[in-house]
């Protein structure tokens, strides 16, 4: 397995082809999704509305159609794409640094920590910035707790990590329940419940920025750390002997992951399984090198969540919580991947 930045010529060609396909697919997904919804907007109107932003086109569409496409669908699609990309990047990074295919933001406690942070922030203030800050802080804290519990003699076994994650998630879920219990039922409680339930239904361009910045920032950090993650995924001893500062590297990646997860949780609540399943798909296409894996996972995650949200918002008159669909699709796919991975061999343990 090559860990250095060296790829053979055919492999490079395959990668360029892959990038092309994924980027085109993402673009198409966004365009198609702009034409999908409960309110009928003819596809030619969608194009006209989009072009109308740039060129002076004669108004062939109704103002309400423009509002639906640009103020309701567009921000929602962007947020779904950002959340999908962020979760997939976070999952890839975690699976690399923990050398563990079972890890995702939800499993190591960062999601439930962030959920508590956000709920608590709603309880004590109205500030959106504080909400993200608290979600980030408690997401980090939860991850720190999981990490501390699971480490024995300087190493964390897969089993301990997963178990510590379950314990920590349960604890923070209880804290969320307490927060709901003490919240004012006329005022704060509905706000907390709504926020926790997690849906893209209340998307707006402010929210796109609010989650876009931390997700991009976190993903950038993860991408810059791609070689270090590659080295870490060989195992701590090997990494150390190659001159890598193991603990420091791991922490930088974890902080970035917590930032991404907190942003996604604060925009859409806990959306499970994306960060767990998508990296596996990406790895099947790119191999284990994080240089290719991370951007591929981001693109696939974005495409995936856009389409999941299309089902959630457009299939029936009632709004389906997006987390239900990701779990319904994710759990069986993940079980299948596990069976395959059992034979093909993940590099560690």
């Amino acid at each position: 397995m090559s860990i250095a930045n060296k790829t053979t010529a055919p492999a490079r060609l395959w990668r360029f082809g892959l990038w092309g396909i994924l980027v085109v697919l993402l673009g198409l997904s966004i365009l198609v999704s702009l034409g999908i919804g409960r309110f009928g907007v003819p596809i030619d109107h969608v194009f006209a509305i989009l072009l109308g932003n740039v060129f002076p086109i004669e108004l062939t569409w109704k103002p309400v159609e423009e509002r639906v496409v640009e103020l309701i669908r567009m921000p929602r699609i962007l947020i779904a794409a950002l959340a999908g990309a962020g979760l997939a990047v976070a999952g890839s990074a975690l699976q690399g640094v923990f050398r563990n295919p079972l890890v995702g933001p939800q499993i190591i406690g960062v999601s439930s920590g962030a959920a508590f942070g956000g709920a608590f922030a709603i309880l004590v203030s109205e500030s959106q910035v504080l909400l993200i800050g608290a979600a980030f802080g408690f997401g980090m804290l939860a991850m720190l707790v999981v990490y501390t519990i699971s480490r024995q003699q300087g190493r964390a076994s897969i089993l301990m990590l997963v178990l510590a994650g379950i314990v920590t998630s349960a604890f923070f879920s209880a804290l969320v329940s307490i927060t709901k219990f003490v919240a004012d039922p006329d005022d704060k409680l509905p706000a907390i419940v709504f926020w926790l339930m997690g849906s893209f239904a209340s998307s707006s361009y402010e929210k796109v920025l609010l989650i876009g910045i931390p997700v991009m920032l976190g993903s950038l950090v993860v991408y810059l750390m791609r070689f270090q993650i590659n080295v870490l995924s060989l195992g701590d001893e090997e990494a150390q002997s190659l001159g890598l500062k193991v603990e420091r590297t791991r922490w930088i990646v974890l902080v970035a992951v917590a930032l991404i997860s907190a942003a996604v949780v604060s925009a859409a609540g806990i959306v499970g399984w994306v960060g767990l399943v998508i990296p596996h798909f990406a790895r099947m296409l790119t191999g284990p090198d994080h240089k290719a894996l991370i951007p591929a996972a981001a693109l696939i995650g974005a495409i995936y969540l856009i389409h999941v949200d299309n089902v959630a918002r457009a299939s029936i008159a009632a709004e389906i919580p997006v987390g239900i669909i990701t779990a319904l699709l994710g759990a069986p796919v993940f079980a299948y991947l596990l069976r395959r991975a059992a034979n093909k061999g993940w590099s560690s343990e």
């Binding site: 409960r38 009928g40 309701i72 709504f194 239904a201 008159a317 009632a318 709004e319």
Partner: protein, 356 residues
Amino acid sequence: MRLLALLATFFVTANSAFADAITITDQRGRKITLDGDVKRVVTIPIPAASMFIAVDGSTDRLVGMHQLSKTAIKGRILERFYPDALTIPSNITGKGFSFVPNVEELLVLEPDLVFQWGHLNDDIIEPLVNAGLEVALIRIGKEEFTRKWLTMMGAMTGKADKAQAMIDWRDDVMAEVRAATADIAEDDRPRTLYFMNYLSKLRVAGGKSYNNFYIDLAGGKNVAAELGMFVDVGVEQIIAWDPEVILLNGFEAKLSPQDVYDNELLADLSAVKNRRVYKMPLGGYRWDPPNQESPLTWLWLSMILHPDKIDWDMAERISRNYQFIYGQDVTDDDVANILRVDMNADAANYDIFGAN
């Protein structure tokens, strides 16, 4: 002789016990036997508290109610009619829209009978039954269900005549409203949407809700009739429905039509353009769920939906029927308060109620 006296006493006691025993069938078909008129009643369904007070004409026999029952009394007209209502405990359930009973708090109140919802899950019923409490289960969604609440409450309080009068009033007004809206063509019935939640999420009343019943009765069309009871929907679905009239629930105390007018995403709705968004009135109870004042809801809504065709004297109706239900007088200010003129004054046609 002594034996005879003893026997006589026995028969008299037994006889009187039989004479006073009241048997009621609840809305899940369960038989409830009470030794006599109830003395201590607890209501968990939110609209049941003020209805019980209305049937009984006092708060003496209501010893516990839902927290959200009390928020409809506090600061509103029922507080003036029955100031003692605020001292009745309301800590008998979980917070918010929870109907999970707090059994030990309930036992402290020593109720003869507890009203509970029968159409939700049995987990909110069994703890009460297991604690040895007498439970009456009631249902929501149809007008006939609400009448049965009145019958049951009348039978157990010895106020069967009052309850029957309240039912007769429902019949009379229903016939009146139906006659007034019968000839309205399908196309002239405004597309109407009721928001059960607006501030925290968008939850609307579907075809199985009580709201659907009175929207139909008052000459409207519920745009969400294809859905079940209360269902979450997205903004886009609401735009696709394009309601002509929007009704806002009375549970979200801070929710006002201005919140809807200020929502940029809903700017294209007919209801918003024509300023036909209305906060549901709140009298002796919130007018949106079934309650003792439902006929006033029907009259009010028929005027909201058809301001050009239908004209009742709402102030007179409210005043006359508050005398009938509560034995109390209302002023013009009270009428304006009940009709939520504070929030509805700017809405289209609200001057037809003459309360501005």
